[in-house]
């Protein structure tokens, strides 16, 4: 059976003065063996003190974003064999405070996402029935609403690392999802938040977030469109 070396970031604030790396030999027990299978193998058979987040195990809950050989990804949707290496360095998502091992503090990430008012804002009264939305208008939400809040994008972004108040690509993607929704009337409330000095202008369009997104979404595109909307308003 093929084995792969996992060099894993370890840190427990209860006992460690500083972080270190542990090495495990993980067996790939079937074709398509996933990174999450490997993490479970480490925990359940090799070292029960190793810790990480996981839940749905099918790429929708967003719990298990990690960094492997420098790239952010979901452990439950990545096949070890597809990484093309016998030596994997496993780290928590970068740019976030590490709580322990692969577990990062995501409160800041969630709080920033909330500041862009990610919900429908209506000024007109609602009809008794559904608010009609054409298939074309609904299609505008594709590529935006599927975000799973895993943090792979924001934690790959140098602006997010450098500016602790920068809202980050995820928040902009979510803001744009509501701004373009034909049912929403809240753009005016959101745009000043996005126009802040910690807003969309901090993006250097280096597309790390696009590379990192496991759902193949495009936050940079949303940022560019928000900027255009801001500029159009000033004219």
């Amino acid at each position: 059976m093929k084995t792969v070396t996992f060099e894993v970031f370890r840190y427990d604030p209860d006992k460690d003065k500083e972080a270190y790396y542990d090495t495990f030999q993980v067996e790939l027990r079937r074709p398509g063996y996933l990174l999450l299978d490997a993490l479970n193998q480490i925990k359940w058979e090799l070292d029960p003190t190793f810790t990480y987040r996981r839940s749905c195990r099918e790429g929708v809950c967003g719990s298990d974003g990690i960094n492997v050989n420098g790239v952010n990804m979901l452990s439950c949707m990545t096949k070890v064999e597809d990484l093309g290496s016998d030596h994997l360095v496993i780290q928590p998502l970068p740019g976030m405070n590490v709580m322990r091992d692969l577990v990062t503090d995501v409160d800041d990430f969630f709080n920033k996402f909330i500041t862009v008012k990610p919900y429908i804002i209506r000024k007109s009264p609602n009809p008794d029935k559904e608010i009609y939305q054409s298939p074309e208008d609904r299609k505008l939400l594709d590529g935006l609403y599927e975000c799973i809040l895993c943090g792979c994008c924001s934690s790959s972004c140098p602006s997010f690392w450098a500016d602790k108040k920068y809202l980050g690509p995820n928040a902009f993607l979510r803001a744009w999802r509501y701004i373009v929704d034909s049912r929403d009337e809240g753009a005016e409330e959101r745009l000043p938040i996005l126009n802040d000095k910690h807003g969309v202008w901090r993006c250097h369009t280096i597309y790390n977030c696009v590379e990192a997104c496991p759902k193949e979404l495009n936050p940079t595109d949303a940022i560019v469109k928000i900027r255009k909307m801001l500029l159009d308003q000033q004219i």
Binding site: D12, T51, G59, C61, N126, S134, Y145, L149
Partner: protein
């Protein structure tokens, strides 16, 4: 572990942040100070995985009626559901869908801009005459779209969130529920939430089976907590084995695939569901399709080297159609089966998917305790979603009725809990409040014995899969129960290696495993004593439904040792609110 406890006071505390918990919270928050405690961040709850749709007789594409929906739900339940709850849920369905749409849920649309609808298993027009388009959907990410919408709405409403808080004990004072003890996974601290009303929305427990579609967190914790405080688990023996789990992995392929035209094929390339359900074929309810698939395999018509599964073909609807309506399925098939479903069929077999029963409630979501002689309320306790049973699913749930259940009864729970909080004053904590939960976590935090999670969970899921799944017999289940007792004994010689106060998953898994063994014992005892076949409970030794003896809810309580199940029964509420009763009939599709 320290016994320092931080105290909080709320009007309403909701345990669990899936669709039911969040809908309860966003409603209750409009009236009173409401907290949500959840083992995971709210957007990571298992509702996120729901794919195919949520049913409501909107009639957007063809004529439909809530009364037809109610009939389908009752018939789908093999007549074990409470018909007042079924009427309540199906009548409220259209306005619930509209309410979700108004708060932003990105439903797929018809050409004229209405909410799109697709057919789903067991949903019919005119009381069983033909399949009907009743499932509203957002591509194949309906649960994901719903959960995020509800989370964002509850944030907007000012709900107080306590994420990565694991519930240890339901608190009571002289029969009155008044709070919950929680463990903060992030730093190991203990918290007591003292509240006027508590809503349980803690989800299901299908992680007790080896092949399952569930998230790691679906371990029956809420059920175990409620049972330890004298509540029962209603209809515990009824699980849903969803027909189309990905072979080998168990992950779900939505029934929406068959709703969009997908068909099941055996090794001879035959569309075998035509033989088992001539009218609605592949869109028969899940219990029937799962059993038909298992029969095909038993009779040697399975596919693959071991002839142990069947194929789900969808490529004939066209790649563009698949990518528009079923994009998530395309991704899951690629990762978990290595199959491009726009070109090849997906290998599937049944996977444990849903707990049909739960903590019993009436349709106002008030938790009840009962037996054949009557029922009483548990004051201050409400329950909704998969952990609860208002009973709209009975012996078999229809696809898309779970999302409907959780939004309807989630909203009702939020309203009822807020009303209860407005009418009652806060009941103080007893002197040693939380001591049982603290003792339990300390037992495992200090456990220094022999057995570990990986070993015992492996044995648990193995025995449940082999002896308590699609086909059951007295002999197999009795053996299963004996094994479960052995596993329970091993929990007294358990080892938690991790002693950290920060994100100690080893400790959480020990607590979850302890709960899983308890619920496994409870459902196995219920299944042994139900000597008939009904819905998802199929017995080779009693293959027929027996209405004379078993048209009644099972209620599993715990004996005083808090370990041994005691099986009791309660009458089915066959009388609806306003319409005539649907009397039991043979289930033919």
């Amino acid at each position: 572990m320290s016994v320092k406890i931080e105290y909080h006071k709320f009007d309403v505390v909701v345990v669990g942040a899936g669709g039911a918990g969040l809908n309860a919270a966003q409603v209750a928050s409009q009236y009173c100070k409401t907290a949500v405690v959840s083992e995971v961040y709210p957007t990571r709850s298992h509702t996120i995985s729901a794919q195919g749709g949520i049913s409501a007789a909107l009639g957007n594409l063809e004529e439909d009626h809530w009364h037809w929906h109610m009939f389908d739900t009752v018939k789908g339940s093999d007549y074990l559901a409470d018909q007042d709850s079924c009427e309540y849920m199906t009548r409220l369905a259209p306005e619930m869908i509209i309410a979700l749409e108004h708060i932003g849920l990105p439903f797929s649309r018809t050409p004229e801009g209405k909410i799109a609808q697709r057919p789903f298993g067991g949903h019919t027009a005119e009381f069983g005459k033909r399949a009907v388009k009743r499932a509203c959907y957002a591509a194949d990410r309906t649960g994901h779209a719903m959960l995020k919408t509800l989370y964002e709405k509850s944030v907007d409403q000012g709900t107080h969130f306590y994420s990565e808080f694991y519930a240890l004990e339901l608190l009571m004072n002289e029969g009155q529920v008044n709070g919950v003890l929680c463990y903060d996974i992030q730093n190991g601290e203990l918290h007591i939430f003292n509240a006027k009303a508590v809503v349980f929305a803690t989800g299901g427990n299908c992680r007790v089976f080896q092949t399952n579609s569930n998230a790691h967190i679906n371990t029956g914790d809420g059920l175990a907590l409620a049972m330890r405080k004298g509540c029962s688990w209603s209809d515990a023996e009824f699980f849903q084995f969803h027909p189309t789990g990905i072979y080998g992995a168990g992950n779900l392929i939505t029934e929406g695939v068959r709703g969009e035209g997908g068909i099941l094929l055996n090794a001879q390339g035959e569309r075998f569901m035509e033989r088992y359900a001539p009218t609605i074929k592949d869109l028969a309810p899940r219990d029937i399709v799962s059993r038909s698939m298992a029969l095909e395999v038993l009779e040697g018509r399975g596919v693959g080297p071991n002839k142990d599964h069947v194929l789900l073909k969808i490529d004939h609807i066209g790649a563009e159609n698949i990518m528009e309506k079923l994009p998530g399925i395309h991704e899951l098939s690629l990762v978990f089966a290595g199959v491009d479903c726009t070109k090849e069929p997906i290998p599937v077999n049944p996977t444990a998917h849903y707990q049909n029963g739960g903590i019993p409630t009436n349709y106002h979501t008030q938790v009840i305790k009962g037996n054949m002689d009557g029922e009483e309320y548990v004051p201050g306790l409400f329950a909704a979603g998969e952990c609860a049973s208002a009973s709209v699913h009975g012996a078999n749930r229809l696809g898309t009725n779970s999302l409907l259940d959780l939004v309807v009864f989630g909203r009702t729970a939020g309203e009822q809990a807020a009303k209860y909080a407005a009418e009652n004053s806060l009941v103080g904590l007893v002197d040693n409040a939380g001591s049982e939960g603290v003792a339990n976590i300390n037992k495992y935090a200090n456990a220094n014995g022999k057995h570990t999670f990986g070993e015992i969970w492996g044995e648990l899921t193995d025995v449940m899969q082999k002896k308590m799944s699609v086909f059951r017999t007295e002999e197999l289940m009795t053996e299963c129960y004996a094994t479960l007792n052995e596993l329970e004994a091993k929990m007294d010689d358990y080892k938690v290696n991790d002693k950290s106060s920060v994100y100690n998953l080893d400790l959480i898994e020990a607590l979850e495993l302890n709960n899983m063994i308890l619920v496994a014992k409870a459902c196995t005892s219920a299944a042994i004593l139900r000597k008939e076949s009904r819905g998802g409970h199929f017995r080779d030794d009693y293959p027929d439904r027996d209405d004379a003896n078993f048209l009644k809810h099972t209620e599993v309580y715990l004996e005083e040792d808090l370990k041994t199940p005691r099986v009791d029964y309660r009458n089915v509420r066959q009388k609806p609110i306003s319409v005539e009763t649907f009397p039991p009939k043979p289930r033919v599709y």
